[in-house]
Subunit: 537 residues, 2 copies
Amino acid sequence: MAEEGARILVLGGGFAGMFAAKELHRRLRGRAVIELINEVNYFVFQPLLPEVAAGAISIRDAVSPLRRLLPGVRMRQAQIYDIDLARKVVVIFQGLQRRYTEVPYDHLVIALGQGVDLSRFPGLADHALPMKTLSDAMALRNHVIDKLEHADITSMAEVKRELLTFTVIGGGFSGVETAGEMKDMIDRALEFYPNIAPAEVRIIVIEFADRLLMELPPSLGEYARAFFEKRGIEVRLRTGIREATGTAIVTSDGEEIGTRTVVATIGNAPTPMVAKLALPNDRGRVRTDRCLRVEGQAEVWALGDAALIPLVDSPTAREHYAPPTAQFAVREARRLADNIGAVLDGKQPAPFVYTSKGALASLGGGRGVAEVFGVRLSGFPAWLLWRGYYLSFVPGFAAKVRIAVQWMLDLVLGRSTVQTGTSKARATRYVRYRAGDRVFEEGNRADGFYAVVEGAFELSILDPAGGATRRRIGPGGHFGERVLLGEGLRTGTVRAIEDSVVLMVGAEDFQRLTGALPPLRDYFDSYITATFRNEPP
Amino acid sequence: MAEEGARILVLGGGFAGMFAAKELHRRLRGRAVIELINEVNYFVFQPLLPEVAAGAISIRDAVSPLRRLLPGVRMRQAQIYDIDLARKVVVIFQGLQRRYTEVPYDHLVIALGQGVDLSRFPGLADHALPMKTLSDAMALRNHVIDKLEHADITSMAEVKRELLTFTVIGGGFSGVETAGEMKDMIDRALEFYPNIAPAEVRIIVIEFADRLLMELPPSLGEYARAFFEKRGIEVRLRTGIREATGTAIVTSDGEEIGTRTVVATIGNAPTPMVAKLALPNDRGRVRTDRCLRVEGQAEVWALGDAALIPLVDSPTAREHYAPPTAQFAVREARRLADNIGAVLDGKQPAPFVYTSKGALASLGGGRGVAEVFGVRLSGFPAWLLWRGYYLSFVPGFAAKVRIAVQWMLDLVLGRSTVQTGTSKARATRYVRYRAGDRVFEEGNRADGFYAVVEGAFELSILDPAGGATRRRIGPGGHFGERVLLGEGLRTGTVRAIEDSVVLMVGAEDFQRLTGALPPLRDYFDSYITATFRNEPP
């Protein structure tokens, strides 16, 4: 063991990891070196993300630099590449560095949280906006403002309907708070969009279970539903998602809802690193014993959303495990620090014991629901309690004051919800189309190149005689290249003739690629000559 | 003419366009329809961008929604595709829309500002960070924090030196304020980076002229230089830029400065639309008469940075034209509105007359320089004046209060400078290397595919016998594909053997492309088989 004592390495900087590092440092300072590895250098106060998306608090007040929160803890902003349990090292990439670094440990704490996997729902991963990270919240705000801007000036009724329909998949805490805050934000914004009538805006929450807020007692879920319907937010219960495209979702009932905004708050899944580890897990949560130690491992611990922690000796039901909430993560962190301390002293760790003190949710519009110490609250008192509760949780005095000041200014001055960028498409992205959907038509601007991954499309080009040349394009085929390599607007129309997926490459990137890679350019040149030989120039 | 009166179309939503629309609406309400087209739906308070980059004020307080600032003005968030002066229509694309929309006008106001063109300096466009837009300010902040994070943990002395060297090209207002604010931000952040000594950080301002702040009298430029040197900011005068790569810049003296941060505040150039227009222009600024009317056009007007406006009848020197400052733009907007009003009434427009009331610059660290009504100020009084002056300019009472509150909190609570995202590389980007630079080496992570655009590289692969296979790769050639199509770490080393440029494609995008485009995959498979046939597996 090194001079400085045991090396304790914490992976992850969310509630679980941040508080674990804090508690470990408090208990073991001088006896152990605590090091934390996280992909970003800040802690995100996740429950406030819907408020960030809605512009109710500013970005920088929902996040705090981990280094400031954790004085005395070593901090590495890095990507975790591998965990070698046998050699007791974590392999990471730091910064834009391309050579890996190995970080050894005596005790490892896994606090990597949960990831998102939407792959069960065709098209959802490609077309839905998640709500997990700070970037997600910012992207949602920019997206919603974009839709309002476009809806205000479009002259196409169907497009306007799609633009003004906002869907949220999932009716748990995150979905309900996002829908409520989005409603608030849009209501406040509408006065500046003279061509949008309030009645044209639809917000729809879709939940598979038979009520909202499964985390709370049924009466509060029902309160939330009734409150939402009163505010004009539609709630679809017992409804799943079958697929999503860029302009619609299809529910499990077969209903097609035209929309250009799909927020997905479902699909919790293990993070790729946890999934890859050879540790016992249950649907992606690492199984621990009651003392937070990973089953069968003497020096590996897990807590927070990444861990499945039994609260009783022989768990048989869901409620026999610690729920994945911030409240539990913070308590688990304390027990974890005590237990690692005990093990370092050659003593026995103790089981984690905690009972929830309650739960709260904001519904937007100054209303909330809460169950605290067994007492149920709803309406304005619950909302106020929610704000106070979360404020007490926000780490750092400066951030508390800033958020309180912002909330006050928000009430007094009105809100200035601005875009912080335009939403930029990736250079390549997968796009799903349903049979019959139009990809582009004659006269359109050439925005990209399309390679067919799944399904089939029909390209039709009108000829001067009034007829049309039609060609079917299936997987491995492509379209849209000709105009990008020439200039001008689309000369043909492409429609999906089956449910399909394409890989779309942005126009500029396609041009750079064909410019820099002569073999690729040659391929397209030959292809265009062979394919369009018989058509008018 | 339509029932509602003349259609006046303002292009651009910066100081010039925003104030032009405001003044036009104030004077001509009821007699004309004022419409403004801008690519983003907010007005950016550009002088505050360095403060946004440094986290001294929050993003949303440096921008205001145009719709809120301009009640009664029609607003379109759209990209301008073309201006047809003969038919008197502007052709635009709205939102993600692919079909264009034509907007007719009776009078057109060009207020498109200036663009940036760094193409005269090899590598600068690909490797420098601009400081023109809100996204630029956010990107700079994220970039600087990234460099600090990486510098804190790297064990390579040369890399650390590059990471901690921050260069600003241009010593005008924007360059000086950016350098000063960056210094402030880094000084405040260093306490959280235990492995970075203050003396390791270098900030360098490079200016081609013989002094800083050409916009101000020489004595104030000299004050700024002396103040910077006292604070440890290096100033290089009479120094140009020869080229830039991802790890260095080369100055006109031939000095190579290792750096991973190059902020470019030089290279003002016409925006693409102004460059394309068949209007008389002088280095990209549209020539107007003294009344702000474009030479030879009865219904086209121009103001702000996009316009070259004579202040006297026979201008012969630079100072005979209106300078491109916010102060002048605001005054030009008033004259413009009066003049269009006069023309609509069948009267004569009047010449624009205005004398600058002075100029101010912040140097960071609570110091500034100013010349106001002929009086020169420097130090803290000038800084305070600067803040007050700009605050008075910030549109909207709410934003004023918010900014004032933030500045106070900043003094009282300390600053929490956080990243608002990690800086993400584009899917395809051009990267410049100098002869001798290493692109990657054996054992590196495979981060992308490289197509050679200019110059030449040498790939060397060690063989088990201790020798090496070497291959020269020139324009049209490529490298880095093999590992991406297989798996694992780099097996060879690539160095530039001439000054070179490559197009780099990110690993994930390359894999998506080869996955979706069988002809491309086939090409690489054949290429790899033919090229690496004789090498050990």
